[in-house]
């Protein structure tokens, strides 16, 4: 097995990022600015953990906590009273709950893509952002997992989704149902992501252990498993990381494919289509990268990480967004084409209804946020403006939430029989649980920023290795 973390090939660059040196050879802006030494990296990354929380952090944390409390009250009321507190009806059985579920699962995908797929492709720019992107994955999957559970109405019976020996026969779960595949896909995804994140953090936890005193030293000493940085351990560790990345890559593709099967294996017009798995996976990556940008543009400012999360990282992520956003646009067109080409009147109606029916506004929000707005990122000026990128990342998140809402609600409100058509509007309780999801996500993320190293120190140290060495090894 070959090396993993210090990449030998130069990161992919588009001509826009390359300026010319005096001798005509291209130079690329550095990934890490400020001429950092390994000791600087340790000091800078550990600084937010070692100093007290700033006022800005407390402000953000209390705001997130307030949203979370709104969610707890809404969900608490819903569980105590029943699903009737939601705006669902006998025609529209899924709406905000499953929209939120699919939205949050999708957010998680960018973390795995950055940590696993870019590791396999040896992209150096992943090293400053992989840790926080993976944390984002884990918190997003936690948010995602909550919604199907509260959607059950009786969440204390949620363990029924697992095939455990029971005194009803035993009556097993239905392994032929896409909903059960979800249980296994999300369960495996959460477990593997959490372990991958933790394993990737062990050397950094050891660094904190060796700097800390008192209680923090004890906790970090326990968590870092006695890591000593010996060459044999490093060799084995790196191979393990590549293996986990190689497992996580097909896993992440399978997770949203399985989620899309919840819809695609049914016969509801607008859901019953084979384009769903790739369409969902690419949309997940698209929305996830937007969320990574939202979080990191704030974090780099608040945590003073501007030398580590540089313009080059932001540019690279913008390019992924343009690329995936364009594929999402292609998927929307493919859906329309297939609906027309199928000759199936129900399928054709489903899409006409989406575009011009009573909920057409949500379709056009989706198209303008997801397909039109990311096209601005083709312009270098836009990619280089932090404010513009931040706004676009928010717009894309809104668009991707609406994508799931459009798919779920417009298809359900008007299916085959006009006599069973119905409308749907959310109640305040549903809006409260949507808000609470964001509250939970940001609360967890802010806590993570305070207690764990947000940047993979050992990987950044490997990236800033002496230039002479790099050219000797890589011949680039």
């Amino acid at each position: 097995m070959e090396s993993t973390v210090p990449t030998e090939t130069p990161p992919a660059q588009s001509p826009a990022d390359v300026s010319l040196r005096g001798d005509g050879r291209p130079t690329v802006p550095p990934l890490i600015t400020g001429n950092k030494t390994p000791a600087d990296v340790t000091r800078d990354v550990c600084a937010p953990l070692e100093r007290g929380a700033t006022g800005l952090w407390w402000g953000a944390f209390l705001a997130a906590l307030a949203l979370l409390i709104v969610g707890i009250i809404s969900v608490g009321y819903q569980i105590a009273t029943g699903i009737g507190t939601w705006g669902l009806n006998r025609t529209v059985g899924w709406a905000f709950d499953i929209t939120n579920f699919v939205f949050w699962v999708g957010i998680g995908h960018a973390g795995t893509l950055i940590s696993a797929v870019l590791l396999l492709f040896r992209q150096k720019w992943r090293t400053s952002i992989n840790r926080s992107a993976e944390a984002m994955t884990i918190f997003a999957v936690i948010c995602a997992g909550l919604f199907p559970v509260i959607h059950m109405g009786r969440p204390w019976l949620a363990f029924w989704v697992f095939p455990y020996p029971n005194d009803r026969g035993p009556l097993w779960v239905n392994f032929r149902s896409a909903l059960l595949w979800d249980v296994f896909a999300i369960g495996t995804y959460f477990t593997i992501s959490l372990l991958f994140w933790y394993i990737g953090m062990i050397p950094d936890l050891a660094t904190i252990r060796d700097r800390a005193t008192g209680f923090r030293k004890k906790i970090m000493g326990w968590l870092s498993l006695g890591w000593d940085g010996a060459a044999r351990t490093w060799a084995r560790y790196e191979v393990a990381c590549v293996l986990l990345a190689a497992l996580a890559t097909p896993l992440v593709v399978s997770v949203h494919s399985v989620v899309s099967s919840d819809f695609a294996t049914s016969i509801v017009p607008g859901w019953h289509t084979t384009v769903f798995p790739p369409y969902f996976v690419i949309g997940a990556i698209f929305s996830g990268f937007a969320m990574v940008l939202t979080l990191l543009l704030i974090a780099r400012k608040v945590m003073n990480f501007e030398d580590y999360i540089t313009r080059r990282h932001i540019q690279a992520m913008c390019k992924v967004i343009v690329f995936t956003g364009s594929i999402v646009g292609l998927a929307y067109l493919t859906e329309l084409f297939v609906a027309w080409y199928s000759g199936n009147p129900y399928e054709q109606f489903a899409f006409l209804n989406r575009m011009s029916g009573p909920m057409a506004w949500s379709y056009w929000i989706m198209v303008s946020c997801n397909v039109l707005s990311p096209q601005l990122l083709w312009f270098r000026k836009v990619r280089e403006s932090i404010g513009a990128v931040f706004c676009l990342s928010l717009v894309i998140n809104v668009g991707m939430w609406f994508e799931r809402f459009v798919i779920i609600v417009t298809s359900l409100t008007r299916d085959f029989l006009p006599s069973s058509w119905a409308s749907y509007a959310p109640t305040w309780i549903e809006v409260g649980s949507l808000v609470g999801g964001f509250g939970l996500f940001f609360t967890l993320f802010l806590l993570f920023c305070r207690v764990l190293p947000m940047i993979a120190m050992f990987e950044v140290k490997a990236v800033i290795r002496p230039q002479t060495h790099e050219s000797k090894e890589g011949g680039s």
Partner: protein, 172 residues
């Protein structure tokens, strides 16, 4: 039997690697090396063999696949055969997603388990390294003199020549 080990500490990767190469060319065994980030060059100097971890992953994955498919078949066709939409009881295509997830889960868990056990990592274990700063910005070599090779003062000189910022003797 008591071995005398020599420990040398370096402030940068270049001098650390050149010292390690010099030692191995002078019949001085590099027993261990510590660094704040992975350096593959040191593997060659120390003669670290390729890990067999991928085989553990493969076996874990195959086991997960076999268990996943077998359990679904057993539960759906033997233990309580249930007619779902007229599908046959042994509807293997429907069992593929869960079988796949079990493959990944078992392979991942096996890999992590093997990594932790083989590297001797454990919660609360006391780390054994020459100085704490190897997890920050220092590099350390632990070398052992082979019979007939250089004497300690000469080893000390060699290490200093290659930029060791500190060195001392230890008994192991």
């Amino acid at each position: 039997m008591i071995h005398i080990l020599h420990v040398a500490v370096f402030a940068d990767e270049t001098s650390f690697l050149s010292a390690a190469r010099a030692c191995s060319s002078k019949e001085i065994e590099v027993v261990n090396a510590y660094s704040p980030y992975p350096l593959h060059e040191i593997d060659k100097v120390m003669g670290i063999r390729k890990t067999r971890l991928p085989w553990v992953t493969l076996v874990g994955g195959l086991l997960g696949l076999a268990m996943g498919l077998w359990f679904q078949y057993w539960a759906s066709a033997t233990s309580w055969p249930l007619d779902v939409g007229g599908k046959p009881w042994d509807s293997f295509p429907a069992f593929v997603p869960v079988g796949f997830e079990m493959t990944i889960l078992f392979a991942g868990l096996a890999t992590i388990f093997a990594l932790i056990v083989r590297s001797g990592l454990a919660p609360g274990k006391r780390p054994r390294r020459p100085i704490e700063r190897v997890t920050d910005d220092r590099f350390a070599l632990v070398v052992k003199r082979k019979t007939g090779a250089l004497r300690w003062p000469q080893i000390k000189e060699l290490l200093s020549e290659h930029g060791a910022v500190d060195h001392w003797e230890e008994q192991a």
